[in-house]
């Protein structure tokens, strides 16, 4: 597959990049590592007039702790570097696991965190060449009036499957957004929308500059079930982050990925653990309860009913791992 023509800009500063992105609105796209965007261009799913390379902007670089202990991760950082970074691996093992679960090492060598957070949703229909798609009716994403995933759906139900996202949400991460209009900061959990097309709240011309992970001594983990480990998108993923002890847990966030158009915070299983404690009986009850939380699951890439059963297993695995894990040492 060949790329369509486009203009290419490589600005030297964030301000220059934002000016470029704001002049032409929608028809200009930010280019991170290109590991997804370039494929979507080849598939003719997007047709930007110009690409603005943001990966090497100095303002998007760096991993650092501020005075309050908040971890700042620049959106241009490569996933390979992040997966091995001591400021991530030691305090947030769940985040390191999630980043390492993205694609293959080849992909992670090129891919950026900002690109992962803005990964568009996917489905079996749009993930094909334009020629192939021509054999079926166009869908919501390709200017049609049908969702091939859930036939009755009034909008696009393609799957959100960016692996770093559930882990970051479980840690209460925030994103810093910049446009030529100014800066705003929001919870990553509030960044996504329940729509396969307008999947996040990023305004035209806006960039993610950094991700902020609040200081907390947490136990954290991430599991991914996929056809092939080390390359494929997940059938389902689950991230968990816990504070407090097994007997008296203080907070627990369980966040599922690859189950719907946006990451899903599991309510009931977490409530059960907080009420019962992180013990054998609590874990079984939490695993049983996950079904109710899932609601309408997009059974994309898996047989009907499979994801609900799978999630039950993932809840068990995550909770058992959190129960076993030692709290990272305080520094």
């Amino acid at each position: 597959m060949q790329l369509p023509p486009f203009a290419y800009h490589r600005p030297a500063s964030l301000d220059e990049a934002l000016a470029r992105l704001s002049t032409a609105g929608d028809s200009v796209a930010a280019l991170g590592g290109g590991t997804d965007l370039l494929i979507n261009l080849k598939l003719r799913l997007e047709r930007p007039r110009a690409l603005v390379s943001v990966r090497d902007l100095p303002e998007l670089a760096g991993v650092s702790l501020d005075a309050s202990g908040t971890l700042r991760i620049g959106a241009g950082e490569r996933l390979t570097d992040l997966a091995a970074h001591p400021l991530i691996v030691v305090p947030y093992p769940g985040l390191a696991q999630a980043i390492r679960a993205v694609g293959s090492q080849h992909v992670r060598n090129m891919a950026t965190l900002g690109g992962n957070l803005c990964l568009p949703t996917r489905c079996w229909y749009t993930n094909q060449s334009e020629n192939w798609r021509g054999s079926q009716l166009p869908c919501w994403k390709t200017d049609g009036q049908v969702c091939h995933v859930i036939k009755t759906a009034p909008n696009c139900r393609a799957i959100h499957s960016a692996d770093s996202v559930p882990a970051l949400i479980s840690l209460g991460a925030r994103v810093l957004l910049r446009s030529s209009q100014g800066e705003r900061e929001l919870l990553l959990a509030d960044f996504y929308r329940d729509d396969g097309i307008e999947n996040n709240v990023l305004a035209p011309g806006e960039l993610i500059t950094a991700v902020l992970v609040p200081p907390a001594r947490v136990r954290s983990t991430f599991v991914k079930a996929a056809a092939r480990t080390g390359l494929d998108y997940g059938y389902a993923t689950l991230a968990g982050a816990l504070t407090g002890s097994n007997r008296v847990p203080k907070s627990l966030l369980l966040v599922a990925g690859s189950v719907g158009t946006m990451p899903l915070v599991l309510q009931k299983p977490a409530q059960i653990i907080l009420a019962e404690g992180l013990n054998e009986a609590g874990i079984e009850a939490a695993a049983d309860a996950v079904r109710d939380d899932l609601g309408e699951v997009t059974n994309l890439f898996t047989p009907p009913g499979y994801k609900k059963r799978l999630m039950r297993g993932l809840v068990r695995r995550v909770l058992h791992e959190l129960r076993r894990q030692k709290l990272p040492a305080a520094d």
Partner: protein
């Protein structure tokens, strides 16, 4: 479409090539520089046959890299791996342990293994699996490939050891 003149540095040789922004590194290496050892497979990041080594030594999927972003940044392709007639230990091991059938995947797998060993000369099982997972072979599977990589690791360690073969002298 406006083209921009870039200097591509492939295996130490410099090529001045006018490229359009939409040309991938893979297209330019194969079709303009005429080094066809780097293979074109899925063109969407999923098979690894287009793997080259970037200026930081890491494996790069040339089908997902824009040539224009590689102006003046050295790239190593399979043609640059052997030292003259002397094959690289990874190449020798692939030959000796039969890690090749049709050969379509071989350049990508060798570049992947070389990138791994350049960064970590003594990778454990998990690190080998992690690296090789991004480069697929649909003929032999990965078993013979892994045997070859392990043998290459041994051969390279032996080469790196002092002449007498005993490592650090007691004393």
């Amino acid at each position: 479409m406006t083209r921009q003149l870039i200097t591509l540095i492939v295996n130490g040789d410099r090529y001045q090539v006018p490229v359009a922004p939409c040309e991938t590194l893979l297209d330019v290496i194969r079709d303009r520089v005429a080094l066809t050892g780097t293979k074109r497979g899925c063109t969407s990041g999923a098979c690894g046959v287009c793997t080259v080594q970037g200026d930081d030594g890491r494996a790069v999927l040339s089908c997902l890299a824009l040539a224009i972003e590689w102006d003046n940044r050295p790239v190593t392709t399979i043609e640059g791996v052997a030292g003259g007639d002397e094959l690289h230990p990874v190449q020798k091991a692939f030959l000796e342990y039969g890690a090749v059938q049709c050969g379509a995947c071989t350049p990508g797998l060798i570049m992947t293994a070389k990138a791994l060993l350049d960064e970590n000369p003594d990778p454990d099982e998990e690190a080998i699996n992690e690296a090789l997972a991004g480069a697929l072979c649909r003929c032999t599977g990965h078993i013979k490939v892994k045997i070859a990589v392990r043998e290459a690791i041994k051969a390279m360690a032996a080469d790196a050891a002092p002449e007498d073969g005993h490592g650090i002298q007691e004393g």
